[in-house]
């Protein structure tokens, strides 16, 4: 195998590079090109699709292309946020893979100057009931996320976890970070000012993570993946805690021209991107880079993915002040280079030039490939094993769903995360459909953010277009339930190998769905990440676009909660016209051993936007005592969740539920966007008009549900026990 092929470059790509350079490349230059032209850095297969997403809006203050996007919160404050994947590292070494995933997304946010205030995670693993590997990955990835987030003192406030056989080899670990900043202090990453000093600060550079971006992130996982364990980076949250405080102090003192974190592809990507954005050149002397071990080759220094490092550009007269701040925080800092007007990235060892690369060719000439999508002619995903017989009584079906790995209580996981640090958390996990983070520690009313992260691979597998729309709708619905209005979203596109036509089709259709949903709801995309080649020996993962959404609410004191709150309250179903829950792609279908196939109900986006707005207004007005959206598991599961969260039963009749459901079972357990369960005084529902159907009353010690299915009655204690035990039991076996 030729050297360029080992580094992940195709023959035509290599020939193009040689033509651009006008000469053969040395080892350093080849290493740098292979990284910058990798899928991970160059977005070769996704750039065209991403350009179709709406990225503009009146509240957007920083769009895609920077370390993180940002939206205006008013009052001179902005919220910076982004989601990013760390899938392949986590599949190889879950603890460090997940930990450094959190570390990386934190750096993205403080690289724009924002103080991180919250983390959310979206995780996917194989079937934990069947697979010891799935339980091991879950256990260790959760521990890694907690290790990093807890130690650095940023609250982990939400997330989601789903288990499907298609993630058995290739788990997904997506982490989202949210930060706050004074809008005028947002800093960009464009290097500027010829003669300015380039300073590398943070951890020393070692051999860990070499080849992570090109080797791990841009190819399928195979049998040799174990041998790639050394390509996984090792995280040090204490180093990052110092780096975070140090970076924010440097920015606060206005000592920096530009700031960039070192993530995938390390110094190579950071320096090339800073130079490209500024239209300048950079000289880097790798001999000055502090190393963890002696004898590292220049190319190794350039491509190392050692964690907890930042690169900044500093005017010479401020250099001493920068060094003083770094010394205060016990952070290593070294001048490693200078900004030039050459337009070239020059790598030096002392006075010896060991690499000389045109920045524009590295960043702008990276090839962009046309996808060749083709709808698959045969089903892509095998049916899961059957866990529930057909024809079980509704009560038994409900208990089976509530205790299933996908729907059981996440408490055994989220209790391992500090969700409180920062004293902003007005809605913790399991209290509401979205986390609520207050912007200030005092005052009334108290403005706050609502944040949510969602994605459902099984439904996207059924229909990539409608499934992706549902991910956006689910986030928006979750925000509505706490009273938050969406401001912007970030997405992480987790897919298989886009060079395969059926994966290209999934990707193309899903991005079309995302774009249409964002336009219809008026929510711009401010940034994100693409993770392709998520395939193991058993085939591709389910197509999994993960959406993270940030919204605002005027007063945290009126933030909604999901649990029934008071006996005697009236319960209503609020549903969009045409709400048509079906069992296709549902959790119940999965328990019955159905493959992720079948038509999903269409979504009338204009109608759904109006319903979300109505829910949001009702929550904000204080008229509702609980609000919860009907999602996985359908209406019966949503009602049971309201009972469990509130510790209260309810006596309900579905007789007048307006759903366009095919049968009693589809009404109880079918899935499809557009319905909410709310409770409060009866008069509160008048505002919903015909969208509201009164179901009954909160109270008692059982959930009693009458309808064309007959009567379903289960004690709240039993519901709670099954819900609490499902995942806890599996984790205990890890």
């Amino acid at each position: 195998m030729s050297r360029h092929a080992e580094l992940g470059l195709t023959d035509p790509e290599f020939e193009r590079i040689v033509a651009l350079m006008g000469r053969e490349l040395n080892e350093v230059e080849l290493a740098v090109f292979s990284l910058m032209w990798s899928e991970h850095c160059g977005y070769k297969h996704s750039r065209k699709l991403l350009s179709t997403l709406p990225t503009e809006g009146p509240r957007v203050v920083m769009g895609p292309g920077e370390n993180a996007g940002a939206v205006d919160l008013g009052g001179g404050i902005a919220c910076a946020f982004k989601v990013e994947s760390h899938n392949h590292p986590s599949a190889v070494e879950p603890f460090q893979g997940a930990a450094t995933g959190v570390g990386g997304i934190l750096r993205d946010v403080f690289a724009v100057g924002a103080r991180p205030i919250a983390i959310l995670d979206s995780l996917r693993f194989g079937e934990p009931g069947e697979s010891p590997r799935a339980r091991y990955l879950l256990d260790r990835a959760v521990a890694g996320i907690g290790h990093y987030g807890n130690s650095i003192g940023v609250a982990t406030v939400g997330g989601e976890i789903y288990f499907e056989p298609a993630y058995e080899q290739n788990c997904l670990v997506n982490a989202m970070c949210i930060g706050l900043i004074e809008t005028e202090k947002l800093i960009r990453s464009a290097a500027a000012g010829v003669g300015n000093v380039v300073v590398l600060f943070g951890a020393r550079t070692g051999r860990d993570g070499i080849g992570g971006a090109s080797v791990l992130a841009s190819a399928e996982l195979g049998d040799a993946s174990e041998a790639k364990r050394p390509t996984v980076q090792i995280g040090d949250p204490f180093e990052e805690a110092k780096l975070l405080e140090c970076s924010l102090e440097l920015l606060d003192a206005e000592l920096l021209v530009a700031l960039q974190d070192l993530g995938a592809a390390g110094l190579t990507s950071a320096s090339a991107e800073m130079a490209a954005k500024g239209g300048v050149g950079l000289d880097l002397d790798v001999a000055r880079v502090p190393l963890r071990e002696p004898g590292m080759e220049p190319f190794e220094i350039m491509i190392s993915e050692s964690q907890e490092r930042m690169l900044c550009v500093v005017a010479p007269e401020r250099f001493e002040a920068v060094m003083a701040v770094c010394e205060k925080w016990e952070v290593n800092a070294t001048a490693v280079g200078a900004v030039t007007d050459s337009g070239r990235l020059r790598v030096l060892v002392g006075n010896d030039l060991v690499g000389d690369l045109p920045v524009a060719a590295l960043v702008d000439e990276c090839p962009v490939y046309e996808l060749e999508p083709a709808r698959p002619s045969i089903p892509l995903y095998p049916a899961p094993s059957r866990a529930l017989a057909d024809g079980t009584a509704p009560g038994e079906t409900l208990l089976a769903l509530l205790g299933s790995a996908n729907l059981a209580s996440r408490r055994p996981v989220f209790e391992q995360y500090d969700c409180l640090v920062g004293s902003r958390t007005a809605r913790r996990p399991a209290q509401a459909d979205a986390a609520v983070l207050m912007l200030a520690a005092e005052g009334a009313p108290r403005p706050a953010l609502g944040v949510s992260i969602d994605g459902n691979g099984r439904r996207v597998a059924c229909d990539p277009y409608r499934g992706a729309i549902e991910a956006v709708l689910e986030c928006s619905a979750n925000l509505a339930c706490v009273g938050a209005e969406p401001l912007g979203l970030t997405n992480c596109l987790n897919f298989g190998n886009p060079e395969k036509p059926h994966i290209a089709w999934q990707l193309t259709r899903a991005v079309a769905g995302l774009g249409d949903a964002c336009r219809a709801l008026g929510v711009p995309v401010v940034g994100g990440n693409v993770s392709l080649y998520n395939e193991g020996g058993d085939g591709p993962i389910l197509p999994t676009p993960v959406v993270g959404m940030v919204g605002e609410l005027p007063d945290a004191a009126r933030a909604g909660g999901l649990g029934f709150a008071q006996a005697g309250d009236t319960v209503a179903l609020i549903s969009a016209r045409g709400w048509a829950p079906s069992l296709n792609g549902s959790e119940l279908a999965k328990l019955r051993g159905a493959a992720p196939e079948g038509e999903l109900p269409p979504a009338d986006l204009g109608e759904l936007r109006a319903v979300h707005a109505a829910i949001r207004q009702a929550v904000r007005s204080g008229a509702l005592r609980s609000a919860h959206d009907v999602a996985e598991g359908g209406l019966a599961v949503a009602l049971a969740e309201c009972c469990v969260a509130g510790g209260l039963g309810a006596a309900l009749d579905l007789g007048c539920a307006p759903a366009d459901a095919r049968d009693a079972e589809a009404l109880l357990f079918g899935e499809g966007p557009g319905a909410f369960v709310v409770s409060g005084v009866r008069a509160a529902f008048a505002a919903f008009g015909a969208a509201a159907a009164v179901l009954g009353t909160v109270g008692g010690e059982a959930l009693r549900l009458d309808g064309s299915h007959g009567r379903l009655e289960v004690g709240v204690a039993e519901l709670s026990g099954v819900h609490a035990g499902g995942l806890a039991t599996l984790l205990a076996r890890a």
Partner: protein
């Protein structure tokens, strides 16, 4: 009353403690490398992971220059409160008896817990009554209070057990469900739960404020 909250590298909850203290008095951040307590009337050693909890939780922070001043201040009767990592630091520094070991589950746990006030005579619990219940969150991986049995007997006999986890609320395996202890004089208190995260009804509870108010009420 002027509170000082120490900031170590790796502290996490120092801003929260600063805010909580500022609700009942003046509050300033103190930098761990300084040698000056800036004339504060009470010192709070906050939660977090000082020095990454490397070596052992709290083991490195106790050697910070400012801790020399804190030890002198404490031995002269100054008010000192150690929260979570701060409790660990005070135990490492010998200002409080006992030690904090890893939770029996070996996992980090974040949970709202009910505490029972055992001694309302300390400088940090004077605004409570014996038997009061406080709802305060706890979040830690190394919070199992431990001391040899004779020391535990002595602590109980000497009213140095300040707070206990109420029945069914202990999750970390602490000896005799101890959540907080004091020194003999009652001016130094350490606890694993986080009173600074229970000072705002919108985050779930205001019971933690009573500890800060207890200290503030002592101001002349």
């Amino acid at each position: 009353m002027k509170f000082g909250v120490i900031q170590f590298p790796g502290s996490c909850d120092e801003r929260d403690a600063l805010h909580a203290a500022s609700l009942v008095g003046d509050a300033v951040l103190l930098w761990h490398r300084d040698h000056d307590l800036q004339g504060v009337d009470a010192v709070i050693v906050p939660g977090g992971f000082s020095y990454g909890d490397y070596l052992r939780a709290g083991a490195l922070a106790r050697f910070s220059p400012l801790m020399v001043e804190v030890e002198r201040f404490a031995r002269h009767g100054g008010l000192v409160l150690g929260i979570c990592n701060g409790f660990q630091v005070l135990c490492e520094a010998g200002l409080l008896p006992g030690a904090l070991l890893p939770n029996t589950s070996l996992r980090f746990v974040c949970r709202q817990v009910e505490l029972e006030v055992v001694n309302a005579q300390t400088k940090w619990t004077g605004a409570c009554a014996r038997g009061d219940r406080l709802s305060i969150p706890a979040k830690h991986q190394t919070g199992r209070y431990w001391a040899p049995d004779p020391v535990l007997d002595e602590l109980e006999a000497g009213d140095q057990v300040v707070l206990r986890y109420a029945t069914g609320n202990g999750f970390n395996g602490s000896a005799r469900d101890i959540a907080a202890v004091s020194n003999r004089a009652g001016n130094v208190v350490g606890l694993m739960p986080h009173p600074e995260h229970a000072v705002d009804p919108l985050t779930g509870s205001v019971d933690g404020l009573r500890l800060f108010r207890s200290a503030a009420l002592l101001a002349v």
